[in-house]
Amino acid sequence: MNESVILMFPIVLPVLFGGAILCVPRIRSRSALLCAAGAGLILTALSVLAVLLGNADTYTLFYLTKSLPVYFRLDGIGRLFAAVMALVWLLGGVYSFSYMKHEKEEKRYFGFYLIVYGIILALAFSGNIITFYLFYELMTLFSVPLVLHKGTREAVMAGLKYLLYSLCGAYLVLFGIYFLFRFSNTLSFTWGGVLNQELIGGREPFLLFTAFLMILGFGVKAGMFPLHSWLATAHPEAPGPASAVLSGIIVKCGVLGVIRTVYYLFGAEFLRGSWVQTVWIALTLFTVFMGSMLAYREKLLKKRLAYSTVSQISYILFGLSVLDGTAMTGALLHVICHAFVKCALFLCAGAIICKTGRTRVDELKGIGKEMPVMMWCFTLCSLALIGIPPTGGFVSKWYLAVGALKSAVPVFSWLGPVVLLVSALLTAGYLLPIVSDAFFPGAEYESGSFEKKEADPYMLLPIVILTALAVAMGVLSAQIVPFLQTAAG
């Protein structure tokens, strides 16, 4: 027993609370349920805080087989992701308190919500790929109930689609792990890679293929082309807060997986200049553009946001794929920024559905009059997503572009920033009309016909906090960036 055991608390606590909510029949009334859920959320967030502030290092839980330990380690990337996850998930939970009043089966929702909380934190703390894979699978399985919560036929089908896409990705990863294990000394994450040149013995082409499969596999969760379509199906069907964390956090787990694979298992050096890098960059750029285009054409608000996620996550992946320190800093920044922004946007969309039942973009005319505070947050977040200074989005995209230009990747070093720019314009194209219509509904709408429908505090508070953070990111980037730069090597 060492002090690193503290790493276990953020993982075990929410799982315990979630399990209790699911299994203990005593928790019957809504208030009891909310108490339990709230306690779970807050305790977990506090324990994450304790972990981040403490000096926990590594912790081996047990051995699956002799060579496969379930092993946790806290490093820079892990801290970053844990912090973002803990915060966003907590806010999403708070939001749910109010939102879920309108849905049935609250108990089930909160139970699984908490369990997944623990699992994603475990992902952040995972010290080797087996542990990561373990929790990655569990995350998929336990988040399915969140997606299909509504229980309609469409929702169940969406849940199934989500499950299958995710598992498909997971198995691509597993395929890679099998081979990686053959060619490396260890599966623990080590900056610079774990490959053993002696074991490889001239089988680089095969190993590159393996690496590509793993990237593709994690790319499924991160919505990378060609396996991105689950996002657009799953998000609209999930309840508001669920789609918010789905888009804000769970897709980031795919990103985390890619980071771990590329930088900590294969090593950036191994991939640099190979066909894998080229194809990967091409895929991310294509996804960036395609996602924005699809979002631009989409009329359903949540689906539009989902496509936007597809596009934005590939910004991050692009930053990772150029294999450059600065670009990676940008990518990490964008992880944070996008988590806040997209989560807030989805929460807004949820609030709209919850209060007015409107789902389509063209129904939102004048909504700014009805829900002004929320809509202001929506506006700010849109700006952040587009990348208007001084919001967080601007900083991250700046680093991305600089990194890309700095890197020596042929063609893409300039094509990348161009695509990012075009996509930013498209982003503006699909977000700003909503805002302008919301506040300026036009002549045919009598301003008197709008009634105040502002969301209640439980819903509004998380939105406001997230928006504030997104904006503050840009202002405070000077403080964050050094930390990220160390994390990005």
Binding site: F62, Y63, L64, T65, K66, L68, I130, Y133, L134, E137, L138, L141, V144, P145, L148, G151, T152, R153, V156, G159, L160, L163, L164, L167, C168, Y171, L172, L174, F175, Y178, F179, F181, R182
Partner: protein
Amino acid sequence: MQPVMMFVAVLLPVLAGVLAMLIPFSKRKYLEIFLEGMSLLDSVLVYSLLTHRPTEAFAIVRFTGDLTLSFRIDGMGMVFGALAAALWPLAMLYAFEYMRKEKHQKLFFLFYMATYGVTLGIAFAEDLVTMYFFYELLTLVTVPLVMHTLTREAILASRKYLYYSLGGAAFGFLGMIFIIVYGISPDFVLGGSLDLAAVGNRTDLLLLIYVLAFFGFGVKAAVCPFNSWLPDAGVAPTPVTALLHAVAVVKAGAFAIIRLTYYCFGTEFLRGTWAQTVVMTVTIVTIVYGCSRAVKETHIKRRLAYSTISNLSYILFGVTIMTPAGLVGALSHMIFHAVMKICSFFCAGAVIHQSGRNYVYELDGLGRRMPKVFGIFTVSAMALTGVPGLCGFISKWNLAKAAVESDNPLAFAGVGALLVSALLTAIYMFTIVLRAFFPVGEPDPEAAQDICDPNWYMLLPLFLFVLAIVGFGLYSAPIVEFFTKISQGLF
């Protein structure tokens, strides 16, 4: 222990079954106690045999020439024997509850017990002849179990089962003959007992015979294209389907192939030949085929049967890698799949028994009514899919590791097949789970009011199995270590 105890262990269940038939029990309870006691007694006997292994062989009877029926327990035999001994008493308990409403119970239990003995006979067989002997007997004692309900489907299914099994054994017989003639002795020796000097330049002939024998024994292990008997045999009562057609019988096929490959022909002789390519291709095809059929199937038990087909070929895939590591993978999947599949079958059986529903689309919302059963089913589904932390992951890991280490490109393709199959497994297992727990639309509160979890007869085995699934999944080091020793011939 005295070597004769091996024979006693084989004979005891058979005698117990016959006795149960003859003794007029005044209450069913006494019959249950008698049978359960006997199977427990035999399992205890088996376990004490395994811990205190008799060093010598025990010959029962001499056939012709130097061919004898004799028992000896080696590492492989320990694994299979322990598996049977662990599962049988539990399955017995389950069967009491399941069969309560059925007719001809005594006859059923007679054959159910006899199968136990015969399975142990396969496990303890010292040589190929003895194994073949019990292998055929296994077919015979299990046919009445398949026929049990005596409906038209049952009759047709048992007929098919019989044709396939006997036909397969006919080809297995070829392999046996060649081992008798070209082997140093028909006894099982790790690394093979072929007399290479006697083989001379007839390598190709022997390889052909190996392939034929592989398919022959493979019929029981349901390799493509000889697998259609298995889903049909699902008409049998669930204790039979679960224990025999997911564990004992089909595993006997896999066991026979392991014996044939590792202990008779020898991996040195087979590795890298066209024979290996052929058999490995077949297993890979079966892996994918079984899963895809399972996805299409809507009858629960048939779906699980197709899943069994696929999973059996996991084992065989491990075998066909033909390295010690492959054997480790095969053995671990043999044990772990047994636990997972019997667990899921018993869940399916509990559902059928409690609700009379047989099809996947009838399960909407049953998860609420039978939370324990479906909870356990979910765990077994996750294990079958290969979620880490449960035992299915360990065996798949071992298999894939062996395949990757073998540096055989076909085996790499096999790893791919394993993963495709895992995905399909997820589809066919989780659709059941999803339906049960997340019914589409508003559930009718009136419907299925009287359906509930079964009593402890059924639940106890289920709980023990689920414990095993999790236990092996989290802490598999000793057992995998044991398998490794077996594969290196240390046992």
